[in-house]
Amino acid sequence: MMTTATGPVEGYVKVAPTVTREGDTATIDGHGVYYRQLNEAVRGAFADGAKTVKLGNINGQRYIGNGITGKDLRIEIQGVPGGDMAMFMNGPTIVTDGSAQDGVANTMNAGTIYINGDAGDVLGYGMRGGRVFVRGDVGYRVGIHMKAFENLIPIICCGGNARAFFGEYMAGGVLVLLGRNVQFADQPLVGPFCGSGMHGGVIYLRGEVNPQDVGKECGIFTADEQDIKVLRPIVEEWCAAFGDDFEDVLSQPFTKLVPVSHRPYGKLYAPM
């Protein structure tokens, strides 16, 4: 096992990190390693046949898992990954032991991400498939412009509160907000402009939402039995990942937001 480094990181160094290999698992110490060399090492380990890459001492390095393809691949992160983690990712599973920065799962195609903490802004921007589970709070514009295509239906389930523009421009997929592991109890479940510009997909919020905070393109409903069928496996997986009580989470009614039109701007233009 690697030792945990202490003290501040004094700049990243552009040298290849040490990689140790044990069976299917490669372990990389990311302490002070520049993102480019770190990610090269991750890709290299997978190219060498590793199935799991364990990253230690991660401290803000960007693009971990970026563009990596392969269903049975797994990245375990100790520390806090930097921006655009799992951007364009196509299949692997990523687990962090703490929080993640902005842009997680940006334009992601497939794969699963478990974040054992909070996550920053624009999580799941333009995400087309795969699943993201966050234990706690998320930042601004989460799930913005999420899409769905054929059998690809992206799912994001956030355990805490979300800031403004949750699900903005959403075009497909399922976005769930549970309000369980919140850091700031005085924050509302969801910030203003939730679902504004939404023209596809569905948002489920555990509890009630102030209609003023919801985009004018959304219809507001109480989740019914059909919805619970959609929610059940998602919440189940979230509870299993973060050790929460499934029945308790589902005991409270959910609010459902869906777009009133797939063509929000169909009547905007003068015939010419």
Partner: protein, 503 residues
């Protein structure tokens, strides 16, 4: 009540003596102008003056005329403005249009003239002497190392820092036009021509159709705010990736492909469901700063094995400062799109009133990057109404590395600039997805016309270079001393860095 005050813009006249009543006009018109009852009967109000019927009438008996209705003169209330008010008071809608700005702003290129050699310095005949047009797009090293090639010559030393450049046989690229806004046959024509010419076509923001895979050595893939069709595979296929921040025809405005244009093939290529609107938000929501732009540039590089990444911006007031930021963010080229650039659909009010001319933008960006000592870090691509090889030569003399053409390419394919692309009914089969219309454009025929056009412009550029007495386009680049202005005001000359003729 009368439903509309607006009278037809054009008059469709058929010479009845010559008409053979074949009905071809009925079949050719994409907008349903003609009905047929023993003879063709045109409905003037639907005509867009695209000339499809005129071109295909075997009897040459159709004429399209302007409907010369006289309005009481008012320099202030032009007939166009009166009609716009009527149209909007009828519908309450935003007026949508297409192609580029058609207002009579000064076209600066037309007020610039090129130099030539006389007496004291010889001009060069490009037909007999080599004339290099090859252009490299991308970051250039701060200094160059050469080594002996063992045959008495020199070559770039390996690792000289030129590896990540896109090589163009001539300083012309096809600008980004998405599949969805244009037809697949247009994309195929562009891709085939680009690969024959050794230049690049650009997917625009609608993804890359599998039929284009054989040509991807000559394809730049675009990543816009809607992220349509963007995945790791897509990013790895092109020779370069372009982040589209803005478009000259609609700076600050997102894209919006109406659901009617999203058929099965477009939906597969864009990876979105059929029939829903494809909305590109105005900004990329992961870019709120130059630092964020840098994050995206390097994310795209990480995902693509460090391919060149360019950034396309619309030319707006602060374009020099913005371009400087773009270059510092790590872009390998900055694509400047002037306010006369084309579009498949834009609100008319934006198309005609937002942005600045490309000529000014090239000059101020080139100067700014030179002043800051970072001009070598990125190439400048100029677009937004490059209409001829003369425009191209002047753009290069002002400081561009290459030009990109969109409208000119479509005109080569039959576009008559009727400014109706947004209707999706293009009779020429260009900006439509209707199968009965798109099949009118044969990609092989299209590729040949585009190849001819680019060859012709390249030859003309060689003639210009020869007259200037230089033997490589490199020598014209940023050489504003070889330009003079006629009839431009002093401050415009100063901004352009061009002297008035006679000085």
């Amino acid at each position: 009540m009368l439903t509309s005050f607006i009278q037809p813009e054009f008059k469709v006249e058929i010479d009845r003596d010559k008409c053979i009543k074949c009905g071809r006009c009925v079949q050719q018109c994409g907008w349903g102008v003609y009905s047929f009852a023993e003879r063709p009967i045109p409905d003037d109000s639907k005509c867009r003056a695209c000339h499809r019927c005129v071109t295909y009438c075997p009897a040459h008996c159709i004429t399209i005329k302007r409907n010369e209705l006289v309005f009481r003169d008012s320099e202030n209330w032009s007939p166009a403005l009166r009609k716009a008010v009527w149209r909007q008071s009828e519908s309450g809608g935003v007026m949508l249009t297409s192609m580029g700005n058609d207002k009579p702003y000064q076209r600066i290129f037309d007020y610039l003239v090129l130099d030539a050699c006389q007496v004291t310095n010889p001009s060069i005949d490009p037909l007999r002497e080599p004339m290099e047009l090859k252009t490299f797009i991308g970051r250039k090293p701060d200094s160059v190392e050469v080594e002996s090639d063992g045959e008495g010559g020199y070559r770039l030393a390996p690792g000289a820092g030129m590896e990540n450049n896109i090589e163009l046989a001539t300083p012309i690229m096809f600008g980004g036009m998405s599949y969805g806004s244009v037809s697949l046959n247009v994309h195929k024509s562009l891709a085939m021509a680009a690969s024959r010419l050794g230049i690049t076509m650009n997917t625009g923001e609608g993804g890359l159709h599998a039929d284009l895979y054989p040509y991807t050595d000559n394809v730049i893939v675009q990543c816009a705010s809607g992220r349509f069709g963007v995945d790791a595979d897509y990013l790895n296929r092109g020779v370069a990736i372009e982040i589209k921040v803005g478009q000259g025809a609609k700076p600050g405005i997102g894209g919006h492909l109406p659901g009617e244009k999203i058929n099965k093939e477009v939906s597969t290529t864009r990876m979105i469901p059929q029939g829903t609107d494809a909305i590109s938000p105005a900004p990329h929501h992961d870019i709120y700063s130059i630092e964020d732009l840098r994050q995206l540039i390097y994310s795209l590089k990480e995902a693509s094995g460090y391919k060149p990444v360019g950034v396309k911006i619309a030319c707006v007031h602060n374009v020099a400062a913005i371009a400087s930021g773009v270059v510092r963010a790590g872009a390998d080229y900055v694509y400047l799109d002037g306010f006369k650039g084309g579009t498949g659909a834009a609100p008319q009010i934006i198309r005609d009133h937002v942005g600045i001319p490309i000529e000014i933008a090239i000059a101020v960006v080139d100067q700014r990057l030179r002043d800051e000592g970072i001009r070598n870090q990125a190439s400048i691509i100029a677009a937004g109404s490059i209409r001829s090889s003369a425009d191209m030569a002047k753009a290069i003399a002002l400081g561009a590395d290459a030009v990109a053409i969109g409208s000119a390419a479509l005109i080569a394919l039959g576009c008559h600039v009727c400014q109706s692309c947004h209707t999706g009914c293009c009779s020429w089969g260009i900006t439509t997805q209707k199968p009965e219309l798109t099949r009118r454009l044969d990609p092989e025929w299209g590729a040949e016309r585009l190849t001819n056009l680019v060859h012709a412009w390249s030859h003309e550029l060689q003639e210009i270079l020869g007259a200037l007495g230089v033997n490589a386009v490199e020598s014209l680049r940023g050489s504003r001393e070889r330009l003079r202005a006629i009839g431009l005001d002093a401050s415009t000359c100063e901004i352009l860095g061009v002297k008035p003729a006679g000085m």
